[in-house]
């Protein structure tokens, strides 16, 4: 919970968190090493220096660290796991649905655990999705369309198999489709991070929500265009958020564009923890004001009301969370007590 100076409470949902294992012991090959090192460069290139982690801690951190960084010092009330498995780089997977589920069990009401699928896995993958959906009560998936799989260098949401998977999501009640359209995570050479396929998928599956993570950076111009056409397309702010510190002017320009093209109900906060810590992101965001020239040019506002929507209300709607009821539910729970002790 973030408290404003005037005492108003803001319920925060971090829509994009990870508990990963990038350690040497878990790496399968050079790719595994390079992948986590690249994340580390993202971490140090955009975090304030006082928030730098050591490389070792960054490779693998304990769930207690996560609990502390998110809920005790980071103002977060709920977090959504967006796992990436990278089975070809890491023995036991980089992210792990099972480990996430353990935390969900230990801290009821604090986490939502998503999974991922790859339509190139065909029937077998469909079955597995069904199994996971039932076992873990899955409400959302995180997709990487640029991921390599055998000879394939990526897929599109419009591919026939991808459509079958989306139909399966609909059938299983998985309504939130988070799509990583952003900086590349695996070697690619086509425009697999092109956002155009979102357009068609979103108009075919109007009852599903498409949250475009990282706003389609590095293709934000196409993303804005699609998002104006399709009302079930949302902007996930992970990776965009940390620019608030390192490049505030650009952060302001991008926020101006997003608010102009999408309106304030379709922009969603995410830290991409542990690449960046929610504490400083949220503090800076609450302090942040759009410069006058951008306000004048785009005619948009980023006031307290807008910030509340971005930090929690918008994503709460997508996951069917009643914020007032959830506050009651979490009051006095393990994490609440932990936070009290610390303060």
């Amino acid at each position: 919970m973030y408290k404003t100076k005037s005492g108003e409470e803001i319920f925060v949902i971090d829509s994009h968190i990870h508990l990963w294992d990038g350690s040497k012991e878990n790496q399968l090959n050079e790719y595994g090493a390079q992948f986590i090192d690249c994340f580390y460069d993202y971490h140090t290139s955009l975090s304030p220096e006082e928030y730098y982690w050591s490389r070792n801690k960054f490779y693998k951190y304990e769930s207690d660290t996560l609990i502390h960084d998110l809920f005790v010092k980071g103002y977060v009330d709920m977090g959504i796991f967006q796992p990436v498995f990278l089975k070809e780089f890491y023995k036991d997977g980089f992210g792990n649905v099972e480990k996430n589920a353990e935390l969900e069990e230990q801290y009821p009401g604090r986490f939502i655990g998503n999974t991922s699928f790859d339509p190139r896995e065909g029937e077998k993958g469909l079955k597995y999705l069904e199994y996971e959906a039932k076992k873990y009560n899955i409400q959302g998936v995180k997709l990487y369309t640029a991921e390599w799989n055998g000879n394939s260098k990526g897929y599109k949401l419009t591919d026939p198999w991808a459509q079958r998977y989306l139909e399966k999501c609909r059938e299983l009640g998985i309504r939130n489709i988070h799509v990583h359209k952003g900086p590349t995570i695996t070697p690619l050479n086509r425009d697999a991070f092109d956002v155009a396929d979102i357009d068609e998928a979103a108009s075919l599956f109007t009852d599903l929500n498409f949250i475009v993570e990282h706003c389609g950076l590095p293709r934000i111009e196409d993303f804005c265009w699609i998002a104006t056409q399709e009302k079930n397309v949302y902007a996930g702010l992970s990776v965009v958020m940390p620019f608030i510190y390192a490049r505030p002017r650009y952060f302001a320009e991008i926020m101006g564009e997003l608010l102009y093209w999408l309106d304030e109900d379709r922009i969603i906060f995410g830290s991409d923890y542990a690449i960046w810590e929610p504490k400083w992101l949220i503090e800076k965001f609450m302090e942040f004001e759009l410069p006058e020239d951008i306000k004048k040019e785009t005619k948009v506002e980023l006031n307290l009301n807008t910030k509340k929507k971005i930090l929690g209300e918008n994503i709460a709607r997508l996951y069917g969370i009643n914020i007032e009821a959830q506050k009651e539910r979490l009051r006095g729970d393990r994490i609440d007590r932990l936070a009290m002790q610390e303060s």
């Binding site: 900086p183 695996t186 111009e221």
Partner: protein, 241 residues
């Protein structure tokens, strides 16, 4: 000029197609060495994962630009610390097409198409950056549409301002890259196919171009930051335009 300096002056003209900034500006050149008519250029990118197709374009452009120097017979281009270093270095040094170096992944027309697409983005971004800048300097937007290249040149010369001049020069360069005439009598601001921009369309035209420009600049900041983190370079201060 020393041979290495001459090579650098050529590298100033090689651009990252996605960011529309030169490799020297971006700090992508690791080092250059020369041995009589042989030149070696070692370059580096912000991540191990940067798209091989863009890396390939940059490597090809390095080779071709440096070969323009009359004394150069052979250019050895080396991309370091990249997942596809080996294929790219071999392919470019031996003049293979991208599609031969990465069979099954891409056709030769694809890389050409990608080049064209990014040149168009660069055109729109450079034009918007210049127009945005001029409008801030109190030029009337609709009047800009009436000016010719010759008239614009005179006005810009009278400003005695390096920034305006460099934005103008970069804009002229991309116009000629896209086969648009920079003759004095041509209108200064047109669409990329040479068609006029109607005054009542100007606002939406520019806001569309602005998204493209912002996207490129945002990516450039990200890439610079990652490169600095990767190679322990000093972080750049925020650029103001």
């Amino acid at each position: 000029m020393q041979p290495v300096q001459e090579v650098y002056s050529k590298l100033n003209m090689v651009f990252d197609p996605e960011l529309d900034q030169s490799l020297t500006e971006l700090n992508f050149i690791d080092h250059v060495s020369t041995d009589r008519s042989n030149v070696t250029v070692v370059f580096r990118l912000p991540t191990y994962w940067c798209s091989p197709n863009f890396a390939y374009m940059m490597a090809e452009d390095i080779r071709d630009r440096v070969l323009e120097l009359p004394w150069v017979k052979h250019v050895n281009v080396q991309l370091k610390d990249h997942h596809a270093s080996e294929d790219i270095n071999y392919g470019v040094t031996n003049r293979k097409a991208f599609s031969d170096s990465f069979p099954g992944v891409s056709s030769s027309s694809e890389l050409k198409e990608l080049r064209r697409k990014f040149r168009e983005k660069a055109f729109l971004a450079r034009q918007e950056r210049l127009m945005h800048h001029l409008i801030k300097l109190d030029f009337n937007p609709k009047m800009l549409l009436k000016l010719t290249i010759g008239e614009m040149k005179k006005k810009i010369d009278l400003l005695y301002d390096d920034l305006t001049q460099s934005l103008w020069q970069k804009y002229l360069l991309i116009r000629s890259d896209m086969n648009q005439s920079n003759g004095d009598n041509h209108p200064a601001f047109t669409r990329m196919n040479g068609e006029p921009i109607e005054p009542n369309e100007l606002e939406s035209y520019l806001s569309n171009s602005k998204r493209i420009r912002l996207n490129m600049e945002f990516n450039a900041h990200q890439c610079r930051g990652l490169l600095a983190a990767r190679y322990n370079l000093q972080k750049n201060k925020e650029m103001k335009i």
